[in-house]
């Protein structure tokens, strides 16, 4: 919305018109080539999802089979529980993402703005937390959840997602908070504003673009996660969409076309959420409206 207006504003001001034009053309050509590369996987996945195993392996990747196998989609859709998985994926992703971003913002604010001993130590604790490979956490975490009665409970997923994505979220937020001008906050404190008011009314809105960024990243991670789901959850009623892929991996064979269809179906919601949140990055500055 606001972003579009800005995009229309004039681009070049100096007298280098011609050179500028050539430079611009080259730049656009490069941008378009890169764009094709980045769009390619989505198109490929679409074609992939319309093939059977033989066609997947034998036809060139970017060709449609003689008879597009739309039945892959009905196969996926009719395989039991897909609606339950979908809803679980949705609410777990949303809850975990919101919690991570809000809690992470609070921590980052406390570390970058508040004055206390041990803030760098605490930051260190969060940073070390992202250095452990996920597979070595499975056995200890399962036995922990088992002891507190949270195995086969969606809370085990939410807690794990929040905890494991927290460090990376804080790290990204950190870079932004350091660069954020402090004048507004200083003025607010002089006016007698409380910490809470300042954080929620001033800082959070000002960091809209990075909040959107971390939200996108968290969402993608949570949406695609499957190792924790498989390990902690055993009831169908709590499993998520990533399980749908497994439905087509057998003991001796794998149904690749159906997997493609599952991936295609499961990418749509995240694509929509992404397109929506992605615009918030641009809106962020408008809402922040900080002028030096």
């Amino acid at each position: 919305m606001t972003g579009n207006v800005e995009l229309q504003t004039s681009v070049n001001s100096g007298g280098w018109r011609l050179l500028g034009r050539i430079g611009y053309s080259i730049m656009y050509i490069v941008l378009i080539i890169v764009a094709i590369f980045q769009l390619f996987p989505l198109v490929w996945l679409m074609f992939f999802s319309l093939k059977n195993n033989q066609e997947v392996f034998n036809l060139p990747p970017l060709s449609l089979p003689m008879h597009p196998r739309w039945e892959n989609y009905s196969k996926v859709w009719n395989a039991g529980n897909i609606d339950v998985y979908f809803l679980n994926s949705l609410w777990i992703t949303v809850v975990a993402t919101v919690l991570t971003v809000v809690l992470g913002s609070l921590v980052t604010y406390a570390i970058t703005r508040m004055k206390w001993k041990g803030s760098s130590f605490v930051l260190g604790l969060f940073m070390v937390a992202m250095m452990i490979p996920v597979h070595s956490t499975l056995i200890p975490l399962f036995s922990f959840f088992n002891k507190v009665g949270l195995t086969d409970h969606p809370l085990s997923l939410v807690l794990s997602y929040v905890a494991f994505n927290m460090p990376i979220t804080i790290m990204i937020l950190l870079g932004f908070y350091y660069a954020l001008p402090r004048e507004v906050e200083e003025a607010a404190i002089i006016d007698g504003c409380s910490v809470n008011r300042m954080f929620f009314r001033i800082v959070l809105p000002m960091t809209g673009s990075v909040v959107a960024t971390t939200a996108i990243i968290n969402m993608i991670y949570n949406w695609n996660e499957f190792i924790f789901v498989n390990t902690f959850i055993s009831s169908d009623s709590y499993k998520t969409l990533t399980v749908g892929v497994q439905n087509f991996v057998g003991q001796y064979t794998t149904d690749w076309g159906a997997i493609g269809a599952t991936l295609m179906i499961s990418i749509l919601p995240i694509l929509i959420m992404f397109l929506f949140l992605s615009d918030r990055i641009v809106e962020g500055i408008a809402a922040g409206s900080v002028k030096g």
Binding site: L125, L141, V210, I281
Partner: protein
Amino acid sequence: MDKVLSNKKMIALYVLPSLLLILTIVYIPIVLTGYYGLNEWNGIGSMKFIGLENYANLMKDGKFWDSAWHSLLLALFSGLSLIIYLMISMVLAARIKGANLFRKIYLIPMLLSSVAIAQLWLRIYNPSNGILNSVLQSIGVDNPPAWLAEPSLVLLALFIPILWQYAGFYILIYYAALKNIPTSLDEAARIDGATSWQIAWKIKFPLIMETVKVTIVLAVVGSLKYFDLIFVMTDGGPNGSSEVMASYMYHTAFRAYDFGYGSATAFFLLVICLVVTWVIRWLTRSKDTIQYS
């Protein structure tokens, strides 16, 4: 002002919930992993305490050091690739026409799960009917290599999709950071006659320096514990020539039932990450944080 910002209760309220969560969910496994590493344990039966034996064995385990070298190479490449991502982000953030659309398209690969990306690149690299070799053959290369089967090529062949997979991630972060710079600075510089290049390098880059530092750490730590695509595409092969630390850990712990040794590997991986992070922070340290003036 200091009084408001050093209110102990508020600090506790802001930090403790997350800290407690991390300490239970992430630090219990970290501490236990360290402990398992001191035991001989197949993950099933009883443990036998053997002190530092696993670590001693790890130090002379040639296969582990090979995998560590591969991980470090990946970290190096990831770090260098940030330059490209930063350049693309600068261009996109320069308010050119269509930037919004380009940005969205550029991030699409990031939405795909590793399963999909691995399948895509397996089809690209397939020695007999993959896209890459078809292209090479059509331009006259007689006997193009089987990319994922050649010990000397496999690492390079894997790095490309890994770096590509994360392009969107870093472009997203850089773009948001650049968009956070007040537009007034940009405009003022232009009025003073600065070129786009000067604005990017002299004004914008220093302002997002903190974010750049963070992404370096993220890229390096992420690479050191990288697992996904390598596991699906080559499983560490052929002959261990694409084994990385995390896949080595997985193979020893989950395939060979040597959970003690696997845990020691994981814990040592954490130590390596810690050291490397510390070195990066030290190399990129600045005397004081850059501020808008």
